[in-house]
Assembly symmetry: C2
Homo-oligomer: 281 residues x 2
Amino acid sequence: MEIHRTPGSMQKQSQAWKKEGRSIGFVPTMGFLHEGHLSLMDIAARNADLVVVSIFVNPTQFGPTEDLASYPRNLERDLELCQSRGVAAVFTPEPQDMYGPEFQTYVTLEKLPNHLCGLSRPVHFRGVATVVSKLFNMVLPDVAVFGEKDFQQLAVIRQLTQDLNFPVRILGGPIVRESDGLAMSSRNTYLSSGERASALCLSRALEGASRRVKEGEIRADHIRREAEKEISSHPFTEIDYVTLCRPDTLEEVEVISGPTLMALAVKVGKTRLIDNAVLTP
Amino acid sequence: MEIHRTPGSMQKQSQAWKKEGRSIGFVPTMGFLHEGHLSLMDIAARNADLVVVSIFVNPTQFGPTEDLASYPRNLERDLELCQSRGVAAVFTPEPQDMYGPEFQTYVTLEKLPNHLCGLSRPVHFRGVATVVSKLFNMVLPDVAVFGEKDFQQLAVIRQLTQDLNFPVRILGGPIVRESDGLAMSSRNTYLSSGERASALCLSRALEGASRRVKEGEIRADHIRREAEKEISSHPFTEIDYVTLCRPDTLEEVEVISGPTLMALAVKVGKTRLIDNAVLTP
């Protein structure tokens, strides 16, 4: 397995692979890998000749009060996991090689970030869109795979790929959950044991909503209130949002008339967790 | 010579050329080609296996009061000129195929547009940066060539290419002038014969400044005032800016201590003309 530490070295290798006619499947990550990430690597492997994983905790997608400094890292373990999954190359650059002193170019979206996480994380999706554009130009993938847990991120990336005509096919990977239902996240490591128990409120609220919609409930308001009740019944929880919206534009809906995204963001102690499900009547 | 009218068709052809190991030199234009454009094609041809020219009057780089509707067009003549210059493919898309109804992604720079033309054309460089990023992803060039007449545009494109890591080498082509000194521009066609005579004020002002700096003048203020005097002595002229600045950051200078960009924008009648020169002590 190759390890590339600079944009130039990664780009050169990718260009060489393309010249050989080999297709590249790409999984961008911030490291501290879990089964969710590994499932994305498997999807990439099934859709391309070789897999590249990036590990980069991207500073421009964190707000000033967010957890950039404390974000969990374990490169040695990450590299072992990538190797065990047959990854061809890991790209793990330093921030100063990604953002030089004259850096000033950003990729911004005008609509999709004005919903869900974008409301409480104002610079987040600008940072994501910019770093993903940079990574696409370094790794030159034919296919890139992103987790559906970050549903809004996936929507942003699909849109920017289409709008800027990147020659990349975007695939989503289904949410991977712990046996009790908690969606896997590198940030779960922040949770105390009491918080870990309360964190189940997210998947429980989604399960309840899914059941109610199957039973014929169509009032988004009602489903949202029931979810809020479920979440608030657990200690340490503080709701950021509970939203029912269109999966394509992320615009809120009042009536559930087709597949509807239910997205949650909840602080459990100091840890902000997200989860989502598409509810189908 | 191939003619591609959709992004998908262009991108597919470029991907095929790349797979064959052929390098692509790219000249993006808004058409109504003149000797300046043709000189860029020659530079592209010397630096790549084949040349692609795009002809697209990009709506997003025009402000609401600017000349989008009246911008001169002559596709038939443009295609003949490209053919005569040995161009491999012309890419001439329709606006609706470049910007679909859900289009919402822009490439923005935080510093370089806050000078020169960016001050009176607030959306211009966002439009340029976005369309060039899109064109790079469609044409997949190894080399792209831009005229030095649009000096700030060239600076913006160099910076975004570096910041977003596009695998493209950017080259500038020297300004091409009419025999009397007027910098070639598709917009020169707007000038009446009286305005055409007055339009010489730009190159004259630059020549005067160049001579003064060679003679030892180092006060930017003094050089600017002399240039303004020259321009104002011609009828139909209205100065937008006369600026002496650093060629890299475009920040204004007070003292000329090294190569200094002198950039001019002047309205001659209703036609806004630009010109520039690097003054060297």
